[in-house]
């Protein structure tokens, strides 16, 4: 039995029934992680993992284990871990070792979690191909010449390649869902505010969310229950979807979407219909402005969030005779090109009159999108859309940032509206893209109703595995 192929739920059963020990499963995962050439991890924490494995085993032995006890996981490197480097994928924080744990790490620790390491990511979570990381590209496990997606590229690749059982990532504009789609796994962006961001490096405070990337929808539900302490996320897993009302978002299903992706989404919807759901195409007109609104607002917040990295307190210390010179040197050398681009953009939209011309307009669009989305979800249980207009692209593809920014249209609306959204591979996607690359379908639900979208994702999963 290859333990690294098991889902979280299966592993938990095997551990609880003493078919295997925590040490075995952690050992197997560590072995794979060490041998991997995907560059999914920035830091492997083998020693800590083995210690945690012992603690976890004791919890099993004393009957105090929980669903996550002893399950090997990885943590995105923008989530602070005490005594363990937290680089944020940046040269600026290459040697930054926090003295504190993020709230969610404390929660996981209290349940005997085992962390194998910190995963690679786009620098400060700004990027969607993991190519902006100071620590190099992450390769897609399905095709090493393609991108993993981003910014939680390391997390998605690690789960997909069985280098961990699940991962915790962050999603500001699609950073959990898009890499999950590119790597063929399930990734959940919870409702904004659902999981504490304390100890998670801010990118854009009004958008940032923390969530799981895992092998199944049910695993995502189990992780959510562990993180929130609320037993409701897995409550609908396995339920049929008969009579469910599902909306296909018209603006996200246009000619701009790759034909293979459209085909996969269509097949998925056909499957859902076959399960008794009612599917209709519904329009959210304000989505035409979603990407520009997102980049206006998120870049503005990003400028402010990243300004604390001045080399004074920690991080890359600049050189120079004056504070200004040291500050400039620290940030010039410490921050990468994409981060600087977004800083320029954010400063631009906030400066002088631009505040009214751009930023306020962005706020108005955000409100409009939120209204339209909520109105849609009054009438429908779930909204469906492709997670990306295409599957993972080549690592060599030039970084045309206007094109890249526009391509976030498929994920940013849910962040603008603060809604929960899960991306899961569509049914039969293997038939449409050659060579096979996964295609993600996004399911968006009402605020705090993660249970329903996970239920539908689970249903699609069953359709996939037929």
């Amino acid at each position: 039995m290859d333990l690294t192929k098991l889902s979280l739920k299966q592993l938990n059963t095997a551990l609880s029934e003493r078919q295997i020990s925590v040490k075995e499963v952690v050992g197997d995962y560590l072995e794979r992680a060490k041998q991997s050439d995907l560059n999914a991890y920035i830091t492997l924490t083998e020693e800590t993992a083995l210690q945690s494995a012992q603690t976890a085993q004791k919890l099993f032995d004393s009957g105090e284990s929980t669903a996550l006890t002893g399950i090997p996981c990885s943590i995105k490197d923008n989530i602070c871990t005490a005594e363990i480097k937290t680089t944020n994928g940046s040269k600026m924080l290459e040697n930054f070792v926090p003295f504190y744990d993020a709230d969610l790490i404390r929660t996981l620790k209290s349940q005997g979690f085992v962390m194998l390491g910190k995963t690679n990511m786009d620098e400060f979570a700004m990027g969607n191909s993991n190519r902006t990381s100071y620590f190099g590209n992450v390769r897609n496990p399905h095709d090493r010449e393609r991108v993993s997606g981003g910014s939680s590229g390391g997390s998605a690749a690690a789960v997909a390649a069985d280098l961990c059982c699940y991962s915790i990532g962050t999603d500001t504009g699609g950073s959990i869902r898009q890499p999950a789609a590119y790597c063929g796994i399930t990734g959940l962006k919870p409702t904004y505010g659902r999981i504490s961001r304390t100890g998670v490096t801010a990118f854009a405070g009004s958008f940032d969310t923390v969530g799981p990337l895992a092998k199944t929808a049910e695993d995502c539900a189990i992780i959510m229950e562990a993180l929130t302490g609320e037993k409701s996320y897995a409550s609908k897993i396995g339920n049929g979807i008969k009579g469910m009302k599902i909306a296909l978002i018209k603006e996200l299903f246009t000619e701009n979407v790759d034909v293979n992706v459209r085909e996969s989404v269509s097949q998925t919807l056909d499957f859902l219909r076959s399960q008794g759901a009612q599917v209709e195409k519904v329009s959210l007109p304000a989505l035409d402005y979603a990407a520009p609104a997102y980049f206006t607002l998120a870049s503005a917040e990003g400028v402010s969030a990243l300004s604390r990295f001045d080399g004074v307190k920690y991080g890359l210390r600049g050189e120079g005779a004056t504070y200004d010179e040291r500050l400039r040197d620290s940030r010039t050398r410490g921050l990468g090109e994409e981060v600087k681009r977004r800083i320029m953009l954010g400063n631009f939209v906030l400066s002088g009159e631009n505040m009214n011309t751009y930023f306020r307009k962005g706020l108005a669009i955000r409100q409009q999108i939120t209204r339209e989305f909520n109105a849609l979800l009054n009438d429908y249980d779930v909204a469906v859309s492709p997670t990306s207009s295409r599957s993972a692209f080549s690592l060599d593809e030039p970084g045309d940032f206007v094109k890249i920014y526009s391509s976030t249209l498929y994920t940013v609306p849910m962040n603008l509206a603060g809604l929960p959204c899960v991306s899961t591979p569509g049914v039969n996607s293997v038939k449409f893209d050659k060579p096979y690359m996964p295609i993600g379908v996004s399911l968006t639900g009402r605020k705090f109703d993660e249970a329903t979208i996970l239920q539908v994702a689970d249903c699609i999963e069953r359709g996939r595995n037929r």
Partner: protein
Amino acid sequence: MKLYPTIGLETHAELMTESKLFCSCSAKFGGEENEHCCIGCSGFPGAIPSLNKKALELIVRAGFALDCKISRFTKWERKNYFYPDLPAAYQVSQMERPVCVGGGLEIEAGGETKTIRLNRIHLEEDAGKLNHVGGKSLADYNRTGVPLIEIVTEPDFHSAEEVVAYVEKLRQILQYGDICDGKMEQGSLRCDVNISLAPFGSEKLGTRTEIKNLNSIKAIGRAIAAEIERQTDLLENGEAIIQQTLRFDDATGEIIPMRTKEDAHDYRYFPDPDIPPVVLSEEEIERFRQALPELPGIRLKRYVNDFKLAEKDAVIILNDKRVSDFYDAAVAVHNNPKTLANFIVVELLRRVNLGEADMGALPFSPADFADLQRSVDEGKLNRDVRKDVLREMLESGKSPGQICDEGDLWLKEDSGAVEAVINKVLEANPKAVEQYRNGEVKVFGFLMGQASKELKGSAAPATVKNILESKLKGE
């Protein structure tokens, strides 16, 4: 051409909260460097702010004390700039929707009464401090995140005197409201002054300059005078005023430029994404209003109308809230506001002014102080003795009763006891007695003095005089 100054003021007052504005670190002044710090107030990644409700209550209080309109809906913006004393590189402040809008404060200056209009009061966080030691600058973030209100006036002042009167009165109100301790020397109250000059009667204001961070009332007066003089000289020589930020050097009395408008920061204010707007309910605002302590204006009326104090004395007592609180506590124990006021103004404050007593650390309670005055008022103690007892209380911390017992200071009601003491004095001074009887009556004063010394004020001087006279003549 007569030039006329127009002045506006921004006053920063640190609020008297236990903890900081967005974290639970202590907001206390002092402490070891970076002792009162967490990941939030020292700018580490991943800090999420959580608004201090007490700070909100205190700014609402300030709003009521200064006749402002309280906003039901209020929100915070980030003011972005790089400086090593600002670890997050932004200050959370209020731009669009301050908690308090409008308002005003009536002042008296130059024999006139006028109202200074307020523009707004908003709630923001303080920055840290840089200590410059041996060519290095060390950052201390203890003050970072301490709640601060900024009270902004309209340009309603036309002299340094008016500004000083305003700051004194404002400080008193903030202290009485338990809003800000008003310790300017610790920086908990400080002012930025905007000044422009224009020809008398001109509708248009001149170009203004801003003097930052004045932290004593004296410095405010001096800085304004110096800046008016500087601008007057420039204008009279036909030169233009440059819009700029200035600093006042307290030691030399000089005005020093900091930066001009051209290199002013673009703060790029935008709504703080981590702090949701606050909606205050009418009930909550009402609760905050009811919690507002008695302000100096109302106390003054009480002292003058109810206690019948002379306004001059009432003002002296009100000048320092600790004195006024002490006075009220003493009156609660001994209901004779007039004699207690006299005792405080004439004796206690003299000791304070001489540095013999510290209102912040008196070794006795208002009740002890009131007991002493009660003994005098009830005729048990000679009025002249109370200052000696007070001194002793300051030195030893003993209760007045104990001091009077030990020193045998109580007024002797029994004339036999007084007679006994006088007999002793006469026996001890046979020569003086003889001189008196031989017609040298001026030695009476000497004998009177000796008797008083022995009696330590425990008998009324008239009684002593009568007994002594009859003894000397009668025998």
